[in-house]
Symmetry: C3
Subunit: 318 residues, 3 copies
């Protein structure tokens, strides 16, 4: 499938619309006995569950979309609905939204994987959801902490780097696979990787589609810090979240706003998104091989390798 | 006390005025036998003394405002007058101003503390001085080095991160306390912390109102480097200052200007200042407790703790 | 020689022209049996030779301008012609240009030295070439890797930091000497050093005209990484280049473009260049001494010292 300039234009327009439309108009499918941002395994597609901490000031969100936490149709819909539930004024409950949200994973080995580009690039609705999610991470007053102890690659990495901060456990692997598959870490990904690593190291890792272990990721600033055990990771993230959640919501929001003023302009994000669409036809040459090698995006040897060896990369190009 | 939109407008206007008014029109109280930038314990409020090094090319400024080097009425006035004495053309002495200024402290345990928000937020004159000081650090041709071997917190940290560089000794503690007290590290503080640490680490430390020891501060880039002893700190800072002071003033100025082009826009600084004023009513709920706990901003156990334990933070919210 | 405002204006105009004129109109002196970007010791001034790797997807360029790889008339002309040969559409060969270019040196102790400011500041043609070269590093689709195992100082450092990435061997020394000689690391140099080190560390090293060894350079981010042996350096750079060269050219180009969007604005680069011209008269006081001390820019003790000791710096000012 190809996109015309007109479609691109309409898409960029729709983008703005997605971000500014009153959330109250949206359909909601959450259980009415839960608070709007609460999820059980039976809400939505069941890929997100929530756990209230610190009397509701902190919310732990666990991603559970086996086998690899693919950021595909189900997770994308659940995540989108969840993030929208945090938009101020979007619901009519009087309970204040959590000040801090922690994103963790229920699956060993995976925090959040990529999308299936066929899904997002060929469905306007999904593409719009995929674009809108990081925008909400950037602009919502909520403080987002990524607690990663598995693979955060591709769109999963785009999501990670646009959280306010990220902490890694021993099994974390972060990185972009996009260039290897003929695409780019667009939608804010490149821009936030540059802000965490600087231009030269961003070039090294993004252009080579390399993925990094927790220790290296912390050294170059891809994550804030690496912990030696999963338990230390969770304990430390909880302690940080609890401390932040003590403070005045206005002070947190003003500080987040001041920090985020250093993020990319919406023009720059739109330019990167336009590159994604422009490259999609080229990408389609590689995608069938990628799907075959990964046995349709499941946790086989190829997927677990996260393109870390040149041998794996070469298979894509044979 | 509250601020109307009009007051805010007038304030922002006044800001520009403070920064651009000819300095020669200002009152000066320094001893006429000293050069305009020289200070003894009997000039101004006596919170700053100066020592000439390298035949006047380097000036060591020692902050001495017991018990905690509060950046309050006295220090703020002295600092403001001092910085203004460095403005080119502001005085009619023919001696060139020092090329390098080192800020150090006479008090063990403290480099420069916060302001008392009651003073600055309720007096337009003081607020304008507080706003104008970092602007002078950014724009004066002088190279400013912070030599810190004690607490640099709150406004003291805002001052530190807006110097051209900073070096830490073993007793240095840096950090923002603002969010914990319901405010934000505005007036350039957030923006320069982001430039030193990146967005993700700035978020971690600013949102949790954490303070860091010298070693950690150097690791994350909050200061340029940490030294193991106070003597190494002073020796190294003096050596660096002497070397810089050898060079042509035009070359130094052009380089500083090129570097500072990467600082925040004046619009962004103004937006953060507007947030300070907007949050002040909320902050007033916490301030009485803060003053009580710190025994009116003296060097008691609470102040020395610099909010490093959660227990201390919780006392503010009980 | 002085520059009037008009000359400066004409110069800035000419800049734009240099960067946008169709390259096909330029004279070429390369051997017609070679591909446009290939060089032997008999092409141009012979200061660059090339070696094809990875079936032409990677090109290793070796700088060889004894005794110190001065970035003077010869190297500047050769480099300019080489970079222009990579401009898409500039030649009519059907062979695609290399995706990755590695810059290495044939001379022990030197990667690329400074220009002779007399040459560049007093010849409009040379000055324009010097200005245009880093602009091509920033904008060409080629990925540029600096493999440095000797001195990269002055303009050589400006070139280094504007490559997409840089890796250092045990004999690498990086740094700016400009401030010591009365100038500034303009033409993008300051701006890219700030992007690699942050403002505070950029201030420390640029204002003191310090040069750093490989280990320190990697710690502060001046280069991506330091290797303990020259062989490890070359092996690792080749492996990285080979991996990048596997990928789709469009994906690489879109990613480089996204990263480079974080580079300085052309206005800022032009402002720094204007500072170079403004400072040149002051610089001329120091230049004769610099030429004498370096025995006309040869590899004597003074040159090898790279102004690392204060004693060396002081000789310039005696």
């Amino acid at each position: 499938m190809m996109f015309s300039i007109t479609q691109l234009f309409l898409f960029v327009l729709s983008l703005k619309f997605v971000q500014s439309t009153p959330l109250a108009q949206r359909s909601t499918s959450y259980n009415q006995t839960l608070l709007p941002w609460e999820r059980t395994s039976s809400t939505g597609y069941g890929t997100l569950t929530t756990q209230v901490q610190d009397n509701g000031a902190v919310l732990r969100v666990t991603i559970n979309n086996p086998p690899i936490n693919l950021y595909g149709v189900k997770l994308l819909n659940d995540m989108s609905q969840f993030l929208n539930s945090l938009v101020p004024g979007s619901t009519n409950v009087s309970t204040p939204a959590p000040k801090v949200v922690i994103f963790a994973s229920a699956l060993p080995g995976f925090w959040m994987s990529t999308t299936n580009p066929y899904d997002t690039a060929t469905s306007n609705a999904l593409f719009n959801l995929a674009v809108a999610a990081p925008a909400l991470l950037r602009t919502l007053p909520t403080i987002f902490i990524a607690e990663i102890d598995g693979r955060a690659t591709g769109s999963g990495n785009e999501f990670l780097v646009q959280c306010d901060m990220g902490f890694a456990g021993p099994d974390a692997i972060v990185g972009s696979l996009e260039v290897a598959i003929g695409g780019l870490e667009g939608n804010g990904g490149i821009q936030y990787v540059v802000r965490r690593l600087g231009m030269a190291r961003a070039a090294e890792y993004l252009l080579s589609s390399a993925s990094l272990d927790a220790e290296t990721a912390a050294e170059v600033g891809w994550v804030n810090r690496a912990y030696k055990t999963s338990q230390q990771l969770t304990t430390s993230v909880n302690a940080l979240a609890s401390r932040i959640a003590l403070f005045d919501a206005g002070a947190l929001n003003a500080t987040k706003t001041g920090i985020r003023a250093n993020g990319p302009s919406s023009d720059q994000v739109a330019a990167d998104i336009a590159s994604i669409l422009r490259l999609f036809p080229e990408e389609q040459v590689l995608l069938p091989k990628w799907l075959t090698l990964s046995q349709n995006l499941t946790a086989n040897e190829f997927t677990l390798g996260a393109l870390r060896s040149v041998g794996e990369v070469e298979k894509l190009y044979q």
